[in-house]
Subunit: 151 residues, 2 copies
DNA sequence: TATTGTTATACTCTATAACTATA
DNA sequence: TATAGTTATAGAGTATAACAATA
């Protein structure tokens, strides 16, 4: 497409990213589903663990989710008793989702299985390559996003 | 999550990939849409250009699309006069989609705009880093897929 | 029997708009 | 007026099942 350069790997980065994400979604998602969670459930719960005290809008922005998308995720997690929405004492409009003890236990279980699966899928790469990948993805996401959201 | 190691960038690779793909999808997709195509339309047409003579099943496998997903894409492209489905003389079940002259012209236009947008989005990275990224994504996709599909 | 193309269908993800209660 | 949460809804993207024609 660009011309004479690449031999086999000249496909669009956009589509390669899409398919790689799709594949890793399967790999880690099936770990989460073993414990009754979707990948996105797990992502939300990880964020609640790493950065507690966020409002729902802040949480959505951090994860790159639409606030309405986050709603259904939180609804389901709350219904399962894994998350509770607490009132923010400083702003009566806001609600602060947080993990319940049961939620945190589930989160830790899934986190272990998920990262293990991720490591296995990346096992053929050098640590340096993985570091490059991680840095590039992170910077790519940051482009166009306001700073401050450090996932 | 893994423990004490990473300072800021310790998020799951899976989610980073997802969001990076999402972002690049916007970047290159809006170029395609300037010319009346979706990103996926463009991906299909690029594949038809690079590897002509594939059946629909082969095309779907190459692109990592479900065959039923490909159907609606081809339907729309055929309806717009950008693609035709020709009969395979060697297998009367099979049909070989190919670009029309109009389709190839449109494809070339979108390809130029799309790769330019991709390059711009990746402009802050070194060529070596982009090469690492491309190679890793490619290998990641290959895992679990039968060889032979070289996109 | 297996495979290609096809249709119908459903489920998930995502985004938009509008409403409510606060600020 | 602006913002946080919420609801309803619609549009993509994806996958499953079933069918016809052909191998």
């Amino acid at each position: 497409m660009t011309g004479a350069a690449g031999p086999t790997v000249d496909a669009e980065i956009t589509w390669l990213l899409h398919r790689a994400a799709q594949r890793m979604h399967v790999v880690t998602g099936e770990q989460a589903e073993k414990h009754g969670l979707s990948l996105r459930d797990h992502i939300v719960m990880s964020a609640l663990d790493k950065t507690p005290g966020m409002t729902q809008v802040e949480l959505a922005k951090t994860l790159g989710l639409d606030k309405t998308t986050l709603m259904s995720l939180l609804d389901r997690l709350e219904q399962q008793g894994l998350v509770v929405r607490r009132a923010d004492p400083r702003d009566r409009r806001a609600r602060l989702p947080e993990l319940t003890p049961a939620g945190d236990e589930r989160r830790a279980t899934v986190a272990a299985a998920s990262t293990a699966a991720e490591l296995a899928a990346l096992s053929s790469f050098s640590a340096a390559d993985v570091a490059v990948l991680r840095r590039m993805l992170f910077e790519l996401i940051g482009t166009g996003t306001d700073p401050g959201s450090c996932l």
